[in-house]
């Protein structure tokens, strides 16, 4: 697969998905997939609520998105940063590296955050259950 084709494929898919989530009521639409972990265990996974958060973010509702999934809001800048650098590298002769992703401390911190988030949002205790998806 050529680089250009890959780029077109990915950006088309992302735009199509964004359009779908912009124009559907994500909370009630039955054809959108449910988290398999949540379906099987009843617990929330670190990704639960991210479909609703994505839709809220598309409408510019940052606070609502954070209530659905705070980790999504934390990681969104990282994903956008990485996507932008990949895009720039594809069109420019000068190659930029994504140094922050190669820092051992950064990745360990991120792993700790993900695991903490996963446990905390399932706890029935006061500040923690605010991390569970809610509107």
């Amino acid at each position: 697969m050529s680089k250009a084709f890959k780029l077109i494929l990915i950006s088309t898919t992302v735009s199509a998905v964004a359009l779908l989530y912009f124009f559907t009521d994500v909370g009630t639409a039955k054809y959108l997939p449910r988290c398999p972990f949540n379906y099987l265990t009843g617990l929330f996974c670190p990704g639960c609520g991210s479909q609703r958060a994505f839709a809220a973010l598309l409408h510019g509702h940052l606070l609502a998105a954070g209530k659905f999934n705070l980790l999504f809001i934390v990681c969104a800048p990282l994903i956008i940063y990485s996507a932008l650098i990949t895009l720039i590298n594809a069109f420019s002769t000068r190659q930029f590296s994504q140094k922050i992703f190669y820092s051992p401390l950064f990745v360990k911190g991120l792993l700790a955050i993900v695991i903490f988030f996963w446990v905390a949002r399932n706890l029935p205790l006061y500040p923690f259950y605010l991390l569970a998806p809610h509107s």
Binding site: Y31, L71, F72
Partner: protein, 100 residues
Amino acid sequence: MDFTAQTQQPQTPPKNWLVESILVTIFCCLPFGIAGIVFATQVNSKLASGDYQGAVSASENAARWTKIGFWIGIISVILWVVFVLFFGGMAMMSNMRNEY
């Protein structure tokens, strides 16, 4: 001045699959995404300690788990859509009055 620190990296660092693992974690195939992040931490710490071969094999593991998570995610979405279409169609045919 000592330039050994800069010249010590003979090869480009192996891809650590971190961003891909984060995407898999957030978009719901979680154990695999987290396994990917764990191997990403190994890639980085092995690179930092100069163990290039170890970093390469950790990179391969990260790639494996991230891809497994990605494909299971895609397959479960497809299965879900098929399931909804099938049962949605059945429900429409059997009790059309029972709308909610």
